[in-house]
Symmetry: C2
Subunit: 251 residues, 2 copies
Amino acid sequence: MKSSAAPPPAGDELPVRGADQAVFRPIRGGNAFEETVERLLQALRLGVVAPGGRLPPGRELAPRLGVSRATLREAVATLQSAGYLESRRGRYGGTFVVAAPPAGARPGPARSRPPADLEDVLQFRLVLEAGAAEAAAARSLTRADREHLTGLLAGCTGAGPADYRRLDSRLHLAVAEVAGSPSLTTAVADVRTRVNELLDAIPLLPPNIEHSDRQHAAVVTAILAGDPEGARSGMAEHLAGTAALLRGFLT
Amino acid sequence: MKSSAAPPPAGDELPVRGADQAVFRPIRGGNAFEETVERLLQALRLGVVAPGGRLPPGRELAPRLGVSRATLREAVATLQSAGYLESRRGRYGGTFVVAAPPAGARPGPARSRPPADLEDVLQFRLVLEAGAAEAAAARSLTRADREHLTGLLAGCTGAGPADYRRLDSRLHLAVAEVAGSPSLTTAVADVRTRVNELLDAIPLLPPNIEHSDRQHAAVVTAILAGDPEGARSGMAEHLAGTAALLRGFLT
DNA sequence: CCGCAATGGACTCGTGCTGATCCCTTGACG
DNA sequence: CGTCAAGGGATCAGCACGAGTCCATTGCGG
């Protein structure tokens, strides 16, 4: 490193704090194929396409993802052999999300690693989601927005442990959606994906679910009532719950 | 298209709100070369490297950006011919930011386009930066953090119009830095870049500068005092100022 | 005065990815 | 029962880009 015995000279300009790590970060996340697999998995886990639902056709999806059909097909093939997707040919065919995801499928990398970025994710999520809740409550929502929220809230309430993570994520995503900033929605989707990866490492208990349900209801109520402060604090409280859980289990 | 007379069948699953536009977005921003140019410009405009300062050497920077040295060099060459950078060979050489940026350099694309995403950026920025200010105030800052903040605040106060945008950006970035979440810092840097592009289209008036200076001081004071609410509201107020300005000028 | 170290600059090769084109499969509809 | 539309599957040429290697330039230290 530049640490010990930086030669002598030339006036080192920047003490180089976090700022340039933020701007001199990797341009590409890596391999296009891997990135595509990640995106598809993100769509599944966040419940953007429901189990049994159909993905957009390759000829439409590939350009949207900015990859070639060949690359997209490779990614789909990978997820097929992993048991996540299923393709049917012919008209009205397509690529479908299998209703029952592979049981033992925890293809994540080495588990029980100490997530160095735990605090990073949690802090970032707090800022994004609490901000989204507040922003959503401050807007005048359309009828469709309201129904979207209440519908997802209802679907989430009382769901079983098998579906909870996905439905929960979908609801949180909906809060960001109605905040009216696509960039914010994207950011929430991403941070949610990162949080989900961590959550996969800890158990999901019925008491937690019940607790979450109540907090969800409180947040949605505040949003529908146009109460920004309430929505923000409700969401912050909700997030603090899982944050504590994660800190506890992941030490 | 699928528009008129969607045939009949097969149960359309998703009304497709904003969520899948968030997840089925492009994998790569495009061309690696263009992306690299953008990043370097971002570093300049956000003041991550000061005028006269030196960029990290190519052999170090290229891997950090995840591009080859060839691609990085192409990007640097472009910015050289555009008058932003200057390279010197030999030991203790390097690539330097020219002290006086090209006067007529406003290489942005067609000006006076109606920025459809204006509200998106402003909303997103509010969430990120107000959240960052609050988070920063809620942390126990190190001595270095405090000095970093006060130093940048001092540098910003009373700066001329020529430097103001850059120093202002650098200060806002510092607030995000001390919030302790690298992801948050990255997001703020990105949204700041987008805002700057819009700001380039409107004039920068001395009264605005003076106003901003006072608000900056208030925010930093609140952060140093450990007052999250004050920091958040101060930042929100500050951002509301530029937001109004932008909405006014860009109709 | 010589050599070394650190930087930018140029070249080559291998390959992952794109874009285009074609084929295969299936169901609806006349 | 034939045809067409809409989807997945496959193949191939071309190229952008990454990795590696060497050259050119500069200044410092001995």
